[in-house]
């Protein structure tokens, strides 16, 4: 009951005109970014973070804006999957399999609205899951000391590559690179400068927002320059959208599918290293095995549209659980959301629920509101979004680049940060070519300092004894999970990845 009254307080915070407006704006922008191929939830949120700051929004309003973008992008990814057979972002890949055939059968409108409803079901129940699971996780997290936190950070890094990672050496390289970048600047405990090479600009450390926007948004611009996607404009054969609401019998047929996929997706989202792509993949394959008696999956079966959409949106909600309760994100986009919290001087983790209950519950209430808005927005207004898909990348990409520059310049007003951002953009491009995941780099720059602080605190408390790191049963369990999670993909990674990529083109190394 305590939970419900906190939730009611949350609604009281979220239901102001300003916050509602921000949620609406976030949902709208998020859906567009999700729908446009090449801009996924992580870049979408990344580009908008600097703006939320420079607008001087407080903590709760900024979070409401950015999580609405996050949920919106998760909804939006399906639009181009269904209409163009190009996934708008990686989690929407599985939606292509049945969504595009449905559209070709003249049922594009039904596929869009059905997937909208499935997204709503997934996200709605996942938010309830978040409400009930996160406080339980907080109770466990309160038992954590510095040694356990250090182990938890290690776990996050070692499992971040995910089960579908093909080359764990590259994930490890990325994590170490990110952690190394975080070390730049004045050491917080002793006050000595590290890796600054006498450059005064570096004494404060690298701003992780600069790194995020450079790695995600600018590298995307370079990818487009390399391929000159401008030629891909030709796929604009007007599809017949058809009837915009699904029939009752279709809804009835897909309800059990949505329910099962929501549960699977939520679990996949909460677990470290899985994330939304895996959520939608598991949901789809599970449904296929369970109900595909007449071999209709892959030929435009509505259940094949509902399953991955419910799955990936449920996973998006599930991924917020470890991020809020432990301060350790499990996926790329939640890592970006963590950046938001850190820049707002809010430390996520168990204390967040007791120290800033207004932020947590306001955010959760905002998720509900965003969800209803998205449902309302996505069914009648889907035609508008399909028209926005026609904006060619040659116009869109310069806008993305310029908005990135504006945002970063707005924070610091220094050309130096812009140069660093360009450097990160080039680095991001090279690393994506080499198939090195970018998310561990981001997570490393975000968490590097607190990881080091926990290490030093743990060892200082125990008078310089390094074995204190594996001294409690809890930390041994965490290390064990970390090691298993790191080694598992070495054996199974290739298999899972090749199944996930049987169809649909590679979207680069930015996952969910």
């Amino acid at each position: 009951m305590e939970t419900l009254s906190s939730l009611a307080d949350g609604f009281a915070i979220a239901l102001t005109w300003q916050n509602l407006l921000l949620a609406l704006l976030g949902c709208f922008l998020g859906t567009i970014m999700g729908a446009l191929p090449g801009l996924g939830p992580s870049n979408g949120v990344a580009i908008l973070i600097p703006l939320a700051f420079t607008l001087g929004l407080g903590a709760t309003p900024s979070l409401i804006l950015l999580t609405s973008v996050y949920y919106g992008a998760m909804y939006g990814g399906r639009i181009s999957s269904i209409l163009l057979n190009i996934p708008g972002d990686e989690p929407a890949m599985m939606t292509c399999l049945d969504g595009y055939p449905m559209a070709k059968n003249g049922m594009a409108g039904q596929a869009l609205s059905l997937s909208g409803i499935a997204s709503f079901v997934g996200a709605f129940f996942a938010t309830w899951g978040l409400i009930f699971l996160a406080p339980q996780l907080v109770k466990i997290a309160l038992l954590f000391g510095p040694a356990e936190y250090f182990a938890l950070f290690a776990l996050a890094f070692m499992t971040l590559g995910g089960v579908s990672s093909t080359n764990q050496a590259k994930s490890a390289f990325a994590a170490a690179l990110g952690l190394g970048l975080a070390m730049i600047g004045v050491d917080t405990q002793t006050g000595v400068p590290r890796f600054t090479f006498g450059e005064v600009h570096l004494y404060d450390g690298l701003d992780f927002l600069v790194a995020i926007v450079g790695l995600f948004a600018l590298s995307e611009v370079f990818i487009f320059l390399e391929h000159r996607h401008g030629e891909a404009d030709g796929s604009k054969s007007r599809l017949n959208i058809g009837r915009l609401t699904p029939t009752l019998s279709m809804l009835k047929e897909t309800t059990p599918t949505m329910a099962r996929s929501t549960v699977l997706g939520f679990v996949a989202g909460v677990l470290p290293g899985a994330g939304a792509s895996l959520g939608s993949f598991i949901s789809y394959s599970f449904e296929k095995r369970l109900v595909d008696k007449k071999k209709t999956f892959g030929k435009g079966d509505p259940r094949g549209v509902a399953a991955p959409e419910a799955g990936n949106n449920a996973a998006a909600g599930g991924a917020l659980v470890p991020m809020l309760a432990l301060g350790v994100p499990g996926s790329g986009t939640t890592a970006v959301l963590l950046a938001v919290l850190l820049s707002l001087n809010i430390t996520p983790g168990p204390l967040l629920f007791s120290q800033n209950p207004d932020v947590v519950w306001g955010l959760i209430a905002a998720l509900f509101i965003a969800n209803f808005m998205l449902l309302a927005m996505n069914i009648p207004m889907v035609g508008l979004f399909t028209r926005l898909l026609m904006v060619p990348p040659r116009i869109l990409m310069p806008i993305v680049a310029m908005v990135s520059f504006v945002g970063i310049y707005g924070i610091s007003g220094s050309s130096f940060d812009l140069l660093v951002m360009i450097g990160f953009g080039v680095m991001g491009w090279v690393l994506r070519k080499l198939d090195v995941p970018l998310v561990p780099i981001i997570l490393g720059t975000l968490l590097g300092n607190s990881m080091e602080n926990n290490l030093r605190r743990a060892i200082t408390i125990d008078n310089g004894n390094w074995f204190t790191l594996i001294d409690s049963p809890l930390s041994i369990v965490l290390w064990a999970i970390a090691i298993i999670g790191f080694l598992l993909p070495v054996f199974f990674g290739r298999k899972v990845k090749s199944r996930m990529h049987e169809r649909g083109d590679e979207e680069g190394s930015i996952t969910d």
Binding site: G180, R228, F405, G410, L419, K433, L455
Partner: protein, 143 residues
């Protein structure tokens, strides 16, 4: 082959990082671990993973042709110029040129590029500066 070069580069980076870590001046007031230990652990992970990458390379990615590489290099130069000139000439002018250049290189016609550049620049100026009140770089002309 790409991965082998990448691995060797990563190893050099790790060695450089380790040396830079060893060169950190210790303060006389230090905790039990000190400011060097964690960076050295990172350098070790970086080095080990680079060695593995070099020894067990993935299939080489498809590198763009020289012309495409030059395209990207030119865009980088343009962005650096943009970053340096932004405070000098002001937001609207700098952004107009940068956006027009990128649109042109992504395949728009000359006139269309100029129009897109102008639209992007003015659009961002109106939305972010006039409506949202963000402070953008101010040039000699006041915008």
């Amino acid at each position: 082959m790409s991965d082998r070069i990448f691995g060797v580069f990563g190893l050099l980076l790790a060695i450089g990082f380790a040396f830079a870590a060893l060169a950190i001046e210790e303060s006389f007031l230090s905790d039990a671990v000190g400011p060097k230990a964690f960076p050295i652990i990172i350098a070790a992970v970086l080095g080990l993973s680079s060695i593995v990458i070099a020894l067990r390379p993935d299939a080489a990615p498809e590198w763009p042709t020289f012309a495409r590489l030059a395209e990207i290099a030119a865009a980088v130069v343009m962005m650096i110029l943009y970053a340096e000139l932004l405070p000098e000439v002001g937001f609207v002018i700098a952004t107009f040129f940068a956006a027009a250049y990128l649109t042109w290189r992504l395949g728009s016609g000359l006139l269309a590029s100029l129009a897109t550049g102008l639209g992007t620049s003015l659009g961002i100026y109106v939305i972010f500066h006039l409506v949202l009140g963000l402070s953008l770089a101010r040039g000699p002309l006041g915008f």
